[in-house]
């Protein structure tokens, strides 16, 4: 399992955002996290990225025990939250180059990601001057430029135009072929269910269907997934 979480509790302030979450994800899966606002989806993603500490329970991501070490696995994953993690005064190309080099990714990773997300024409534009949709594309490109094994995506379709959404969906579909695993939180259920191999529902800090065989919702069958990829 690339992700294995048992009875994980995360507290934000005094509020238990995760109240005993259980989750298993195998390599190459595309897992959809669904659930209402405030259910704990973002906290779960941030916890798996090592950005939020675990109060109790256990969590292993990419072989790292997050209770003991929240850092060492980070270079092997990408997390997209509500922020872009980019610098306003740097251009698109400079932000991508910085992110790729900081993640010790390959030499061509930044330019490949720019090409994948159609950011070539915007390469010399500063982040501050981009539209919201263009910023979202850049954030996604930064995530892919890191050449991650695990993609943790929080509402990745938000702000993207139709072309950008299709582009992202295609990249996510091909992720397992490249050895990547995807956990995506989304309110765009119809769209994301066509990509996901499994759906996990988050309700009040608890996960329904987090463990395989525990009543998880199959977003689509394995054969369908294989056919698409």
């Amino acid at each position: 399992m690339i992700v294995s979480v048992r009875s994980a509790v995360c507290v934000l302030g005094r509020f238990p955002a995760l109240a005993g979450a259980d989750l298993d994800i195998a390599v190459g899966e595309i897992v959809l996290l669904s659930g209402p606002n405030g259910a704990g989806k973002t906290t779960l993603l941030r916890m798996l990225a090592g950005l939020v500490p675990i109060r109790s329970g256990t969590a292993s991501v990419l072989g790292s025990n997050l209770v003991a070490d929240r850092r060492s696995h980070r270079r092997r994953l990408s997390f997209i939250g509500h922020d872009t993690f980019c610098y306003d005064d740097l251009t698109v190309a400079e932000n991508l180059r910085f992110a790729a080099r900081a993640a010790h990714a390959s030499r061509d990773a930044a330019s490949n990601a720019a090409e994948q997300f159609g950011l070539g024409p915007l390469a010399g534009i500063a982040h501050a001057k981009l539209s919201a949709g263009q910023r979202r594309r850049l954030a996604l490109a930064v995530a892919f430029a890191r050449e991650p094994e695990l993609l943790l995506l929080d509402e990745p379709h938000a702000g993207l135009d139709a072309e950008g959404r299709d582009l992202l969906d295609n990249l996510l579909r091909s992720a397992p072929r490249l050895g990547q695993t995807v956990l995506v939180a989304s309110h765009e259920l119809d769209r994301t269910r066509t990509i996901a191999t499994r759906e996990v529902r988050v309700v009040q800090g608890l996960l329904e269907g987090g463990l395989v065989g525990s009543g998880s919702t199959a977003a689509r069958s394995d054969s369908e997934a294989a056919a698409i990829s």
Binding site: R75, F85, L90, A99, A126
Partner: protein, 225 residues
Amino acid sequence: MMQLLRDARLVCAKDLRIEIRARIVIAQVLPFGALVLILFAFTLDADSSVLPTIAPGLFWITVLLSSILAVGRSMAIETDNGARDGLRLSAMDGGSIFLGKVGAVVAELLVLEVLLLSGTFALYDIAARGWLALIATSLAATIGIAATGAVYGALAAGAKVRETLVPLLVLPVCAPVLLGATKAFESALHGRSGEAWPWIQLLGVFAALYLTAGFVAYEALLEEA
């Protein structure tokens, strides 16, 4: 070790590139420093013989106050768009991020000091002497100030009142730098460079202390911010 230095250079180059684009140091910090020097001259009477005597102290107070702005700016660029989380998610060691950020602030402050020192010589009617001691003092003091600022800037980064907290933390801690740099400058400018070196050594020890502490602790500070 080579990776650590490469990462530090990456962070330093990123911060300097942002500074060159935003021009905060040149457009805001430098005018602020120049204004402080001019106000000192007005307050203490430009014709007075006191001014050249206390010029080293006034210069370093100005540098210290200006450095607070530069340090604040260095921290602020990691606040927008969740960039700090981006740094945390990178593969870079906290120590290398610290060295990179200190390097950028040192470069900015050294440029500032050259310009302010030229102004000080002109405004306060001082003859420049003891260049080697002046340069060594500036280097050691600037590294000390930048390292201290980076440590306490990261410490205060998570606080809502960080803009006011950083000066409260940094200014008292930098008192030895202010004293040492002033004494070293006094000795050098009065043609007694030999007397400057013990103070420069003190500045070197201070800088080494905070560089080491920051290098070791920055990872934890970044995580807790």
